[in-house]
């Protein structure tokens, strides 16, 4: 495919992805790392929070909460230390963008963390990386070591009087620890059971102290915002919808990925405005030879599927919600016409049944039950009434639990059951003949 017709890439976060030894401090500094930190330490924390508010930066972990607003919630003058936790538990299936950042530009990630720590008044940073990312863990630890030796982490950073420590805390294989309060429990050395909110982490987080938790990609944007200003960031991407006062747009740049049944899976960075179709067909290379695209989940595994004719929605927070799905992590999973949607739904339901933490009954029981019914259909033992049974389950699971894992289990499965009903019915037994016939 000719590259000239493609939506243009904008490499901000990904500018060092292909640079040799870009993960080392020497190369990173040559490329401008820690200049933003120097500038930020001369600003006041309040100025920084304002700048990030102006930028309209929204959380890149999936929920899209405005970052500056989150920072402003941090409880002050509590007499307790404040913590910054970097959520690098990228356990959402189909998502690998944060791994690229941590492996290829760990100093950008660390710089973003240090600026944020200064802005919120934190003196300790915990970077919670999933255990399945041994290289990310090694690269981040090495980056911290190098930065510590260069006076960028630890006591009196760059002579500013600001002191901050940074540590990696490894996870150990639990999807639920990507949920922010589950993650906090995990740092405290417990099972990753999400907490009831409120109190929100900004008031009472890890070790019962005020805590801000942000995604890797979110904080990697902060150095650019410090150097170029919040307004410049807000000008990029999709502006907020003026007709909707609650809209925050999708500003700045965004890492987007494609995986599954496409020719060239990968991750790229754009100013939002690219459509899902341009992403999947243009950058993802389109379907494998001789195949057609059947369904796409736009972000991770936890969003509803979109059909081929629904792919013209832009990759933005509000735009994909309008299209009946969600941006999620902006890493799309593509299924082609060789994919059996009944089997795909079993695969998805199994994931959530396995990863449910077991705390809330609707999720613990519901996800397993959902998987069993789908399995029964896949085995050819289903009845048409099973589809009604599933609909009933969706209602009793969604929105009835402490965290959003249960919702995330329902959304993709429900959309598959509804959009591919014929495939489910075709797998079922013919109705039993009435007695005496």
């Amino acid at each position: 495919m000719a590259t000239s017709g493609l939506y243009p890439q904008t490499k901000v976060l990904s500018r060092s992805f292909d640079v040799k030894d870009g993960h080392t401090l020497a190369v990173a500094r040559e490329r401008g790392a820690y200049q933003a930190l120097e500038k930020a330490l001369k600003m006041t924390p309040a100025q920084l929070v304002d700048e990030v508010k102006k930028s309209r930066l929204r959380g890149r972990g999936g929920a899209g909460f405005p970052t500056g607003m989150k920072w402003s919630f941090v409880a002050k003058n509590t007499g307790k230390p404040t913590y910054l936790v970097l959520n690098a538990d990228e356990s959402e299936p189909g998502t690998f963008k944060d791994r690229y950042l941590m492996e290829r530009d760990p100093h950008l990630v660390l710089e973003g963390c240090l600026i944020t720590a200064w802005a919120i008044g934190a003196s300790t940073i915990f970077v919670y990386i999933r255990g399945e990312y041994p290289r990310s863990i090694a690269r981040m630890e090495k980056a911290m070591e190098e930065a510590r030796a260069a006076g960028l982490v630890g006591k009196d950073i760059l002579g500013s009087g600001f002191s901050c420590e940074a540590w990696v805390h490894p996870g150990a294989g639990a999807y639920i620890c990507g949920e922010e309060t589950g993650l906090l429990e995990s740092i405290e050395g417990k099972r990753g059971h999400p907490r009831i909110k409120p109190p929100f982490p900004a008031v009472e987080g890890v070790f019962r102290c005020p805590t801000i938790i942000n995604n890797v990609e979110t904080l990697s944007h902060v150095p650019w915002i410090v150097l170029h200003g919040g307004d410049a960031f807000a000008k990029q991407g999709i502006a907020p919808d003026p007709a909707n006062p609650r809209s925050n747009g999708t500003c700045g740049t965004k890492l987007m990925g494609v995986s599954g049944q496409v020719r060239t899976p990968g991750v790229w960075e754009f100013e939002p405005g690219i459509t899902l179709r341009e992403l999947v067909y243009g950058y993802g290379g389109g379907p494998l030879p001789g195949r057609k695209i059947k369904a796409v989940i736009p972000g991770g595994i936890s969003m509803p599927v979109l059909l081929d004719h629904e792919l013209d929605a832009k990759m933005g927070f509000d735009e994909l919600v309008k299209a009946g799905s969600g941006l999620g992590t902006a890493c799309a999973i593509v299924m082609d016409d060789s994919c059996d949607m009944v089997d795909a739904s079993v695969n998805i339901a199994h994931f959530f049944a396995h990863e449910s933490c077991g705390q809330c009954t609707p999720c613990r029981e519901g996800c397993h039950w959902m998987e069993k019914v789908l399995h029964r259909i896949a085995d050819g033992d289903g009845q048409p009434s099973d589809l009604d049974l599933l609909e009933g389950m969706f209602k009793s699971i969604e929105g009835r639990t402490i965290c959003a894992l249960a919702d995330a289990a329902v959304w993709p499965v429900r959309s598959i059951v509804r959009k591919f009903r014929a495939e489910f019915l075709a797998r079922m037994q013919p109705a039993p003949a009435p007695a005496g016939a």
């Binding site: 299936p93 998502t95 690998f96 255990g131 540590w167 150990a172 990925g257 599954g260 994931f351 933490c357």
Partner: protein, 235 residues
């Protein structure tokens, strides 16, 4: 002394359940639950079996029937932890956190990697004692996180991703190749403890699917033939 009947005991229990919480309206000093819990109920329950022994009456509906308890498993002898070669690293991990318990997951990782590939009951008890947390807490954490092995694993722990992106690119075929080569299905370890095969959820290697880990090393863009070759290379 009249032995209490089952009915009386039931009343006692109901009263406990209905007693309003401390501090709520209607809870006088006498009606507070703490006294009710330890007061009459305990000696009554203790007295009941001795007096009823000769009657062999059927238990009252809802009463708990006591069977002789199965022999409790022997608690493991805690291993000496940390061993001298890990002491400095373990102390450094604990020093990062304001609470010792917070070092549990990093310490378990370290112990598993350096002390035989799995967390034995003895090691588990040793870590619990050293961190000053209950054994049960460590057990809870061990069983919650899938990366901790509570059984011995082979020298080569093959972890195959089964989640959507890898599944779409043929992770099932990889498992087939592994079974042909080693005779092992997910969850199994061979007798020589050369291989353990595990099916795992998303490894975050979706753009280079299908993928698997052998111990800490990622292998990506695999085909069944490539997996067979990979396993041949494992000594």
């Amino acid at each position: 002394m009249t032995p209490p009947t089952g009915d009386e005991r039931a009343v006692t229990r109901r009263d406990q359940n209905q007693a309003p919480a401390r501090g709520t309206r209607g809870a006088g000093p006498e009606g507070a639950p703490p006294g009710a819990r330890k007061g009459p109920a305990a000696p009554a329950a203790a007295a009941a079996p001795t007096d009823d022994v000769t009657k062999v009456a059927p238990p009252a509906p809802g009463a708990t029937v006591r069977k002789s308890a199965p022999a409790a498993p022997k608690p493991p002898v805690p291993a000496a932890f940390p061993p001298p070669e890990l002491r400095a690293e373990c102390e450094a991990l604990v020093a990062r956190y304001p609470e010792r318990q917070a070092a549990l997951i990093p310490v378990l990782h370290l112990a598993q990697r350096r002390l035989g590939g799995w967390i034995s009951p003895e090691l588990e008890a040793g870590i619990a004692a050293w961190l000053g947390v209950p054994d049960q807490h460590v057990r809870g954490v061990l069983t919650f996180y899938t990366m901790f092995n509570t059984k011995p694993v082979g020298r080569h722990h093959v972890q195959v991703c089964r989640t959507l992106s890898c599944w779409l690119r043929g992770s099932k075929d990889l498992l087939g190749a592994i079974e042909r080569k080693t005779g092992l299905r997910p969850g199994q370890t061979d007798a020589e403890r050369k291989f353990t095969v595990t099916e795992v959820e998303c490894l975050g290697l979706c753009e280079v699917a299908p993928a698997l880990f052998v111990n800490d090393d990622a292998h990506v863009n695999l085909t069944p033939a490539a997996v067979e070759k990979l396993l041949d290379g494992c000594k």
